[in-house]
């Protein structure tokens, strides 16, 4: 059997659910309470994601606590599937208000509530009148209309529209918009460090990490920084939210450049400097960061120069840009033996990635399962890959999905490449890059 990637085959783009998105947007918003209008087991997915994220952060050395806001379910069953679940939802909202005394209740709809046609918005309005506290229904229904990101953004928009009010501008304060691994993740931590060089203070991250009582830091910020990797269809929705906040409160935002990759981060720092009147500080920060990065490259170059790498790509171009990796290989003197395109693209998308690769390099391109691909895997010193390859003998560096900010990804990847070439050839195995 040839070398193949461990993967789940996808034939369509929609592959997520809005409820975990709603939960992600609200899970640490103190004062909020979330109800999944769904069968109870749907909650295990949301909780499972929290637990996974907690352990990932702990493994990365972050001191975090797992303390989300209450998450209840209306616990839909076969009976509600037949007779409707609105009464059950009312009962659940009353119970939640009485037991937890939240400042606001948010309802996330499941695909079940969508299919059986429950009017959760009407129930929310009715319960708000009855209980005298905000009860907000998020419009997306499970996987049916817009999926994870729709739930995340709908919930964020509700927070903006119902819980923010104009505030006096606070000089030197910025707010991050989006998630990218959360407030304790490596992305935001590094971003905060870079902003500190200007110096700017991160007053909060919206939507997930501000209490209902702290929402005013968003309209008060000098700048709203949209988190992300690049401009695409999904990112445009987050930018729409930033625009919505600007229209309501006049808070400027930065969204046309992202701090991912060294060259891009330089542009990003300059843009932040320009928008906050700190151009000189931005140039100083760039000089310092570049020289630190150059020292890191000089340190590893003797070990990496002329090593041969095969680059296996199976992730869509919307999610993964090979140019950052190829630029780094060049800086470190690593020779690109070839590129193998894996069998995990949606129809028509492999060609798009191939076009991009051709634009970036003259190295040979082959397809997973072909003799040429096997040859490339076997003859390289190591493999950089977007998917775990099932051949345990290969020395692989897995390129994680999480975006990395500034120069940090490049620095880590340099360390990982040194690590993998120092590994005995017979050991093989995977390093999570």
């Amino acid at each position: 059997m040839g070398t193949e990637a461990k993967r789940v085959m996808m034939r369509r783009m929609n592959c997520s659910c809005s409820m975990p998105g709603v939960w992600r947007a609200l899970s640490f918003v103190r004062g909020a309470l979330v109800i999944f209008h769904s069968p109870r087991p749907c909650a295990h997915i949301a909780h499972g994601m929290d637990v996974g994220s907690f352990h990932r952060l702990r493994a990365a050395g972050a001191k975090v606590r797992l303390s989300p806001v209450p998450l209840l379910t209306s616990s839909l069953s076969d009976a509600e599937a037949i007779f409707g679940g609105e009464d059950r939802l009312r009962e659940c909202i009353r119970f939640a208000a009485e037991k937890y005394r939240p400042q606001a209740i948010f309802i996330a709809n499941s695909c079940v509530s969508g299919v059986i046609g429950d009017d959760t918005c009407a129930v929310a309005e009715e319960m708000e009148q009855e209980l005298g506290l905000p009860v907000c229904a998020v419009s997306a229904h499970g996987f049916l209309d817009g999926a994870y990101y729709a739930g995340y953004l709908d919930a964020a928009r509700v927070l903006v529209d119902r819980f923010m009010k104009p505030a006096e501008r606070c000089a030197g304060s910025v707010v991050l918009l989006g998630d990218c691994g959360g407030f304790h993740g490596a992305y935001v931590e590094e971003l905060c460090r870079l902003l500190g060089l200007l110096p700017l203070r991160v007053a909060g991250q919206f939507p997930s990490y501000l209490a209902l009582s702290e929402m005013d830091v968003v309209p008060a910020a000098e700048l709203l920084i949209v988190l992300g990797q690049r401009s695409d269809e999904k990112q445009a929705l987050l930018v729409d939210l930033a625009r919505h906040i600007q229209e309501r409160f006049g808070t400027p935002y930065l969204a046309d450049v992202y701090a991912v990759g060294s060259e891009e981060t330089k542009e990003w720092l300059r843009a932040v400097g320009r928008l906050c009147g700190r151009e000189w500080e931005a140039e100083e920060a760039i000089r310092a960061e570049e020289s630190a990065f150059q020292r890191a490259v000089d340190e590893v170059r003797p070990t990496l120069a002329e090593r041969r790498v095969t680059f296996a790509i199976g992730r869509d171009l919307d999610w993964f840009q090979p140019k950052i990796i190829m630029r780094l290989l060049k800086k470190a003197g690593v020779e690109l033996a070839g590129v193998v395109l894996l069998d995990s693209f949606l129809p028509g998308r492999r060609e798009v990635m191939e076009e991009e690769v051709v634009r970036l390099t003259d190295a040979p391109i082959s397809y997973e399962g072909s003799r040429e691909a096997e040859e490339l895997f076997k003859t390289a010193d190591f493999v950089l890959t977007t998917h775990e390859l099932t051949d345990a003998r290969l020395r692989q560096i897995f390129l994680a999905l999480m975006p990395s900010v500034g120069w940090s990804m490049e620095k880590k990847l340099l360390r990982d490449m040194v690590h993998i070439v120092c590994r005995h050839e017979s050991r093989g195995g995977l390093i999570y890059g």
Binding site: V8, P41, H47, D50, V51, F95, V115
Partner: protein, 424 residues
């Protein structure tokens, strides 16, 4: 309020996956079966992650119809036919189609669609959405559906033949537990006819009626199939608490022997006694140096039968515990009596969180979900339920039986010694 709490309350510590994962786990255990999830990719992906804990190559034998909004409005027939396409030319031994919540509600005749695709293999369609319940409900439903479709008439009975019902690699360390129970039963002279849901092939269903006795291991999984077999084939069953701990294992074997005498009962008892003696002396030696194994608080959280079995062994054999809590549905009064000081069914997460927060010299026999809520210096942790994200178990040491008892005791003692060393 109590009834509402049970129904709605905070599910932030909910760890049980849905019926879809249970049904998928049941069929994915068979190497010659293919499982198609008729539902959205998200539900498939999370069910798969759950199944992959125990069946690492499950992705190869499973697929998904990847339903979207259009499928819910216009029906999922085209989506199903597309997903079934690869199996027309190369049919598996069995094709199972498990439907998610939304797919179940739109009312497609999934079995008829699959038949119309022309697949030359038995097709079993199961509605196994979260509406049906949790993992155990889906597993049990799938097992009954498989038997409904594949169970032959009564076969010639093997006089010492037994089936194990209700075991799954979807439970933490489940596959190792199967091997240990098969070993113990062989030692006692029984012939293990089939292990429903943990066998190699769908053919094992054909052998089920040949057993003289069915042994239900995890009741929440195996009870319904046992009742079905009793009705269809007339095979009696026993459902004692699963065999955790040395005494628990002895009780389990005795309960089986009561229903079907063991041909080599004496040999099994001798082996049991030998291990008991050996371990007693070894443990005394370590106790003389490191003191008694003592916890102020302990929490056992796992699927119900497992939780109660472990709790009983912990309290009556492995360690002294001042306050023991079990987070699971209440077990038979007889099993629970005198074991737990507190019981937290799934929805009582506030009390559970308080209990975890109170831990200072605690023990967690639970999942990484509970471990995330306690500072490591305040509790020793042995994962016995999924998700397990902060430990790895590569060996074949089980939790059940004599070998399992040794393994758990070894873990508890080594953890205790390590904690004593840290404190210095």
């Amino acid at each position: 309020m109590a009834e509402q709490e049970k129904r709605f309350d905070d599910v932030c510590a909910w760890t049980d996956s849905c019926a879809l994962a249970g049904a998928m786990a049941f069929f994915a255990a068979w190497q010659d079966a293919v499982v198609i999830v008729n539902g959205p990719m998200w539900c498939y992906y999370f069910a798969l992650r759950c199944v992959e804990h125990g069946v690492s190559d499950a992705a190869r034998r499973t697929g998904c119809t990847q339903l979207d909004n259009d499928a819910i409005v216009f029906g999922a027939e085209d989506y199903l036919l597309e997903a079934l396409q690869p199996y027309i030319a190369e049919p598996p031994r069995l094709l199972a189609i498990v439907s998610s919540c939304a797919a179940g509600l739109i009312g497609d005749d999934v079995a008829a669609i699959a038949r119309s695709a022309g697949i030359a293999a038995p097709v079993i369609a199961v509605g196994s959405s979260g509406l049906a319940g949790s993992f155990a409900a889906g597993w049990s439903k799938a097992a009954c559906a498989a038997m409904e479709a594949l169970l032959p008439e009564k076969k010639e009975e093997k006089p010492h033949g037994v089936n194990l019902l209700g075991m799954t690699a979807g439970y933490c360390n489940g596959a190792n537990d199967v091997r240990e129970l098969v070993r113990l039963l062989h030692l006692a002279g029984y012939e293990v006819n089939a292990v429903l849901g943990c066998g190699e092939t769908a053919e094992e269903v054909q052998d089920l009626p040949a057993a003289a006795l069915n042994i239900v291991v995890h009741r929440e999984l195996g009870l319904a199939p046992a009742e079905m077999l009793s009705e269809r084939s007339g095979t009696p069953f026993v459902a004692p608490l699963p065999p955790y701990g040395r005494a628990g294992t002895r009780r389990w074997l005795e309960a089986i022997a009561c229903a079907l005498p063991a041909p080599h009962e004496k040999e099994a008892q001798e082996e049991h006694s030998r291990m008991e003696r050996e371990d007693f002396l070894r443990l005394n030696e370590i106790k003389s140096m490191w003191g008694e194994l003592w916890f102020d608080e302990a929490l056992v959280r796992a699927p119900s039968s497992m939780a109660w079995g472990l709790a009983k062994a912990l309290r009556t054999e492995w360690a002294d515990v001042r306050r023991l809590a079990v987070a699971a549905e209440e077990e038979d009064a007889a099993d629970a009596a005198g074991i737990a000081d507190a019981v937290f069914p799934e929805a009582r997460t506030a009390e559970l969180a308080q209990f975890l927060a109170s831990m200072k010299n605690g023990l967690l026999l639970a999942s990484s979900s509970e471990a995330a809520q306690v500072a490591p210096q305040h509790a020793q942790f042995l994962p016995v339920a999924y998700p397990v994200l902060d430990r790895i178990h590569l060996t074949d040491a089980p939790f059940m039986g004599l070998r399992g008892s040794r393994f758990i005791e070894e873990q508890l003692w080594n953890g205790h010694i390590l904690r004593r060393q840290w404190m210095l």
